[in-house]
């Protein structure tokens, strides 16, 4: 195998972005599916376009990006015929602006001569007649270019006026309603209060409301009852858990190393840091800076250093025989790509092996970015409580002393005792040693291989009493060292490393030497003699950065509405989807910065909008014109995330342990899970209150994650995840029906309703609905459950078990596992 070939796939995944675009997903059976998607997309686009003329970013760039840039774009090496279409100056001759009839580009896309026709046959993409017309109009109108929207700093748009002035509650609604009015679509009515409080609880703290909270809200006559309820949730410490978990997806948080060995790792203190940051409403610029460079802040605290755990969440390969440098590089590449996708919404990974084919990111820039992360040591720091510090110091000193004594003894042995022992060894004893040791014993000390020497010493010390008691001293001293949590962090190296371009992404093939630097297409960095990680962080959160605020608000929006304003939340580049409502996105982004990057305020703005408060019920008219809810004429129904499913059932059943933070725990899981990875790990089920902690505290082994998490689409933590799937599978049904924890929760819920409503069957059912769904049951539901109870009373071993069936039904309902 050639090294070039190896290089091409070595780090893989992000390697080469030259897969023919425009080929639709899947086998031919799915062509019709994509046709449907395209029809929907174009009908929405048509709604949006109206009678205006062609716009480059909206209409033309997607065509060029999809069909032309691969060979006529930024990547010099792949450029064909010397033609570059992504810059007007370079393309002007071929375009002939204002004269489509004379345009070589038009000639090439319309010719019937297959030799000359663009895109060429082997590109496997074709332009539709509509796309060709768009190009013609654009060229006829002067072929005006615009920079890609996302690379231009957002300007705060004016809040649009609307006809239905009574509807908007804040500017978000004006932006949404303006579009709805253009398309003559009415917004949905506000959801009822029961739905609203359940939605807000699940979205903001990740647990359903208690019946008392629901009643208080229902009975609050004040005009700002909703806002008060929201403010209460934002002030709850569980808010940090709920939103911290979203962030941990992006941070690829896990409790183990990954790869084959998958050792456990101390990183839960970073999780605590994230929870606290949300709870204290740390502004997003600080939140970002601390995670990228908390160790380098001039007045940094120990907590700021813990924040750098963000980039210690990379995997680590502890397998024998690996080249440590290779996997150090793999980690840095992950840091670059994660920084790109999480903060900037860019697919930087495409530039690892070659200049990006679609976005203006050169390979050199990729390695300049890489250089920011190439100058760190990966260390663990101790995090004693203040009162532990002195005790720790003394105990550590004692260990050092005992170790020093032991070492002194070992050194003595080398010169004297060992030689004596060797001479006294009987031949028959020697014969029992492995061959390499026997050979070593025949050599003078100096000629022995270090491995031989080590093996010989081990044999000697094994039976040496003095060694044994000195060793015991060390152990005793060690046992007195108090346990203190540690955490994985980054520390800037004193000796910086050199960084080179890796030719074709192969770390063994060095190209040009580079120094740290940011992406030229975005904002100017502040001047610096030797830019470092802190400068990178400052550049990312500089208000002039066109991406950071947009990407951040877009993800908050995504969590609350089920889809980002930019649907491709990790790709704001030219291949990403354009924003469904660009003015709304830019208003939110500028508002976020203007308000001091406060995430709580931004989330509050979103959840207090009329847009958020709409009913999620599917309307027949919307099913026709906007089934994907891009216009936001309703809320979306969202299946709860894996952890929140657990939290909801623990809450409804009354089992929940509300403790915040701390090391990860081990709730029940089916036997055998820990055997599916190479190194068998134990899973000793937590007893007592730890058995009932929130889902986010379940110990996450990368090689064998808890099946309930995986089955309900929790990310695998192998790379940054900025959006979760929401799947719907039979294995999920089996889990909710039969998993030990789920059955235990049902049992507890049954006991709870029976105890709380001792006398009346209907009251018990009503109580179950209050606890699980925050509402009263409908007649059909009562009748169904009464009928079930009758059948179950005849079959179940006892009354409790019959009620358990009712409880199991409640915890399996679609409504229970859905945020309406």
């Amino acid at each position: 195998m050639s090294l070039a070939r190896l290089a091409a796939v070595l780090f893989a995944g992000v390697v080469a972005c030259v897969v023919a675009h425009g080929e639709v997903a899947g086998a031919s059976g799915q062509a019709s599916l994509l046709d449907r998607v395209n029809r929907v997309e174009s009908s929405i686009a048509a709604l949006a376009v109206g009678p205006q003329t062609v716009k480059f970013n909206r209409d033309v760039r997607p065509i060029l990006s999809e069909h032309c840039f691969k060979c006529h774009g930024p990547d010099e090496k792949k450029r064909k015929g010397g033609l570059r279409l992504d810059l007007r100056d370079a393309a002007i001759e071929a375009l002939a602006p204002g004269n489509a009839g004379a345009s070589e580009v038009m000639k090439r896309v319309t010719t019937h001569d297959l030799e000359d026709r663009m895109p060429p046959a082997d590109a496997k993409t074709t332009l539709t007649p509509e796309q060709i017309e768009t190009l013609r109009t654009w060229i006829a109108e002067g072929a005006r270019y615009e920079a890609h929207w996302a690379f231009i700093k957002p300007e705060r748009p004016a809040v649009p006026t609307v006809a239905q002035t009574a509807w908007p509650r804040n500017p978000i609604d004006n932006f949404v309603l303006a579009r709805l009015e253009t398309h003559k679509v009415a917004p949905s009515q506000e959801a009822d209060r029961r739905t609203l409080i359940r939605r807000a609880y699940l979205d903001l703290i990740g647990m359903p409301p208690a019946p008392e909270a629901v009643n208080a809200f229902l009975n609050d006559p004040s005009s700002d009852a909703y806002e008060k309820m929201i403010d209460g949730l934002l002030a709850s410490e569980h808010f940090g858990e709920r939103w911290g978990r979203h962030w941990l997806d992006a941070a690829r948080y896990a409790d183990s190393d990954g790869y084959g060995i998958d050792n456990p790792r101390p990183i839960w203190k970073y999780r605590e840091w994230v929870i606290n940051a949300f709870n204290t409403d740390m502004p997003f610029d600080q939140f970002t800076t601390k995670q990228l460079a908390g160790d380098m802040l001039p007045d940094g605290t120990r907590d700021d250093v813990v924040a750098t755990g963000f980039h210690r969440n990379t995997m680590f390969n502890g397998e024998g025989g690996v080249d440590p440098e290779e996997f150090r590089i793999v980690s840095i590449i992950d840091r670059v790509n994660t920084t790109g996708s999480v903060f900037l919404g860019l697919t930087m990974g495409c530039a690892q092996c070659h200049t990006h084919k679609y976005d203006p990111i050169t390979q050199k820039e990729y390695y300049q970015f890489f250089a920011f992360f190439n100058n760190d040591d990966e260390i663990n720091i101790d995090l004693p409580k203040p009162e532990q510090e002195e005790e720790l110091k003394v105990a550590r000193a004692n260990v050092a002393e005992a170790q020093r004594t032991l070492n002194a003894y070992i050194n003595d042995v080398e010169n004297y005792l060992l030689a004596q022992w060797e001479q006294s060894l009987p031949t028959e004893t020697r014969a029992t040693f492995v061959a390499s040791v026997q050979q070593g014993l025949m050599l003078p000390f100096k000629e022995r291989h270090p491995d031989q020497e080590k093996a010989i010493r081990e044999i000697f010390f094994k039976d040496d009493p003095e060694y044994a008691w000195r060793r015991a001293d060390v152990s005793a001293a060690q046992s007195k060292v108090p346990w203190v949590p540690e955490s994985m962090v980054l520390r800037k190296r004193t000796q910086p490393r050199d960084t080179f371009i890796h030719i074709k992404g192969d770390f063994t093939q060095h190209g040009e030497k580079v120094t740290p630097g940011v992406l030229a297409v975005l904002n100017e960095p502040a001047p610096s003699d030797a830019p470092n990680r802190l400068d990178l962080a400052k550049w990312i959160v500089d208000p002039s950065n066109p991406l950071t605020a947009r990407v951040a608000v877009n993800r908050m929006w995504q969590e609350l509405f089920g889809r980002g304003i930019v649907e491709t939340e990790n790709d704001f580049g030219t291949q990403g989807t354009p924003p469904a409502n660009p003015d709304l996105l830019d208003w939110l982004a500028t508002e976020f910065v203007r308000d001091g990057w406060h995430m709580k305020s931004m989330i509050r703005l979103m959840v207090t909008s009329a847009t958020y408060r709409q009913s999620s019920t599917m309307r027949p008219d919307l099913l026709q014109i906007d089934p994907q809810n891009r216009l936001l004429a309703r809320q979306s129904r969202l299946r709860l995330e894996a952890e929140i499913l657990r939290d909801s059932a623990l809450t409804a059943s009354g089992l929940m342990n509300h403790t915040i933070g701390g090391p990860s725990v081990y709730p029940p899981q089916p036997d055998g899970i820990m055997k599916q990875q190479k190194v068998g790990r134990s899973w000793t089920v937590s007893t007592g209150p730890d058995r009932y902690r929130r889902g986010m505290y379940t110990f996450f082994w990368r090689a064998s994650p808890h099946p309930s998490l995986v089955l309900f689409d929790a990310p695998d933590a192998n790379m940054a995840c900025t959006r979760r799937n929401r799947s719907n599978t039979p294995l999920q049904a089996l889990t909710l029906l039969n998993e030990e924890s789920c059955v235990e929760q049902a049992d507890a819920l049954a006991k709870r309703i029976v105890t709380e409503q001792p006398d009346d069957v209907r009251a018990r059912i009503a109580r179950a609905f209050e606890l699980c769904l925050g509402r009263e049951p409908r007649d059909f539901e009562v009748n169904t459950l009464m009928a079930l109870l009758e059948k179950e009373r005849a079959l179940a071993p006892d009354e409790q078990s019959a009620w358990k069936s009712v409880a199991r039904v409640m915890l399996n309902l679609d409504e229970f596992i859905t945020r309406e």
Binding site: V9, V15, G672, S704, L731
Partner: protein, 487 residues
Amino acid sequence: MNCGHSITERDALLNVTRRHFFQQCGYGLGALALGGLLGTTASAERITAENPLAPKQGHFPARAKNVIFLFMAGGPSQLELYDYKPKLQELNGQPVPQSFMEGKRFAFMDSFLKEPPKLLGTVRKFKQHGQSGAWVSECLPHIAEIVDDISFIHTLATDQPNHAPAKIFLNTGSAQFGSPAMGAWVTYGIGSEANDLPGFVVLQSGFRGIRGGAANWANGFLPSAHQGVPLRNSGDPILNLATPQDYTDERQRNVIDAVNAINGDHLDLVGDPEVAARIASYEMAYRMQSSAPELMDLSKESPETLAMYGVEPGKPSFAYNCILARRLVERGVRFVQAYHTSWDHHGGNTENLTNSLDDVTKDVDQASAALIKDLKQRGLLDETLVIWGGEFGRTPMGEIRDTVGRNHHIECSSIWMAGGGVKAGYAHGKTDELGFSPIEDRVHVNDFHATMLHLLGIDHTRLTYRFKGRDFRLTDVAGNVVHKLLV
């Protein structure tokens, strides 16, 4: 990985009409009489859902319907099993010619510095077998009997010299964790014909678990429905399959009926196709509760069949997994992967090329051959592609640990394929006389994937999924179908 980027696709899936749902979904909802349950016509018109695992047409007619991949985890030594090198035996103990080492990457490279490696000839006896005259060593007497039904590839090359990345690479076409496994790609492309079982099933046996664990059968960025489902050989065959302790089948059915009735009522109210899909999921879950135990129950297998595989009833083993694999494809499961571990023969006391190798070959030889014979007898071999191999090969030079073993080797390994449109009695590719490198018909992992997909009726360049702004493939940007292997 469950990091999702399929919103458009999923939404579109849900936009299928209800009529389509009944015709194609394969959820078997007919018996449930969804219409009756849901009541009004208005709601019935709104109900839409589709099973993401429903069988789909490929790009062209398939040669193989299903795949069984017998994965020998650790890297079986081709030089002890299939790739006969008399010259290597002749030069046993000689230093490796420098020309063979230059520019190559090996695991444990640092150990070479201590002691320059020497060539290692095998002590295993090789013989030619069958009409095809294929060389197979004494380690695999049963596989030697089926050489006329299979095709060897002696030149499979990978990019990854370490276990976990190499396994991930062979399984996903990418060494970076987070990509979909080939079984996930296949069910994404053409679905599965199994109504009551998952479309991609993973079986495990051997002395330890798999390096990389669940990442080897992950759905990656594909929808989670394509995740490989491990069938367990003790306890419940599928996670959480057993009803809770005090529940009979009837009681479980009562619970599911009530769940689905109330969900149906809710569907009327909210009109979300997801609710219809949920009802279907609960029905399939219920069916799996009987179909999976039926699958695992070997009591209807004849004593001759059990003896042919070497299955001891009730004892988990590779042989048991082989017979399960046949039963799975009989039931329409699209992709079965049966792992067997501990093929990493470096020369340590428990990983030597003598008795440690015997342990694993004895564990798999008879059952691997029996699977081919059994499929053939039942007329299933033509439509089932069987693959036997591991993540990389092993070096022609010895590695000295407690005894002499072999190191990881990425340049070439020997695997075999059978059935499903693959030639019978054929050997593809040649390595040099010492077994260092392919000299003829090199097959890269990407080519192997392309060929496997081709046999399933899928054009590997057209099976794509858009993620992070580009269209990903199992074969990334490479891969050529190995036409010489095809019938």
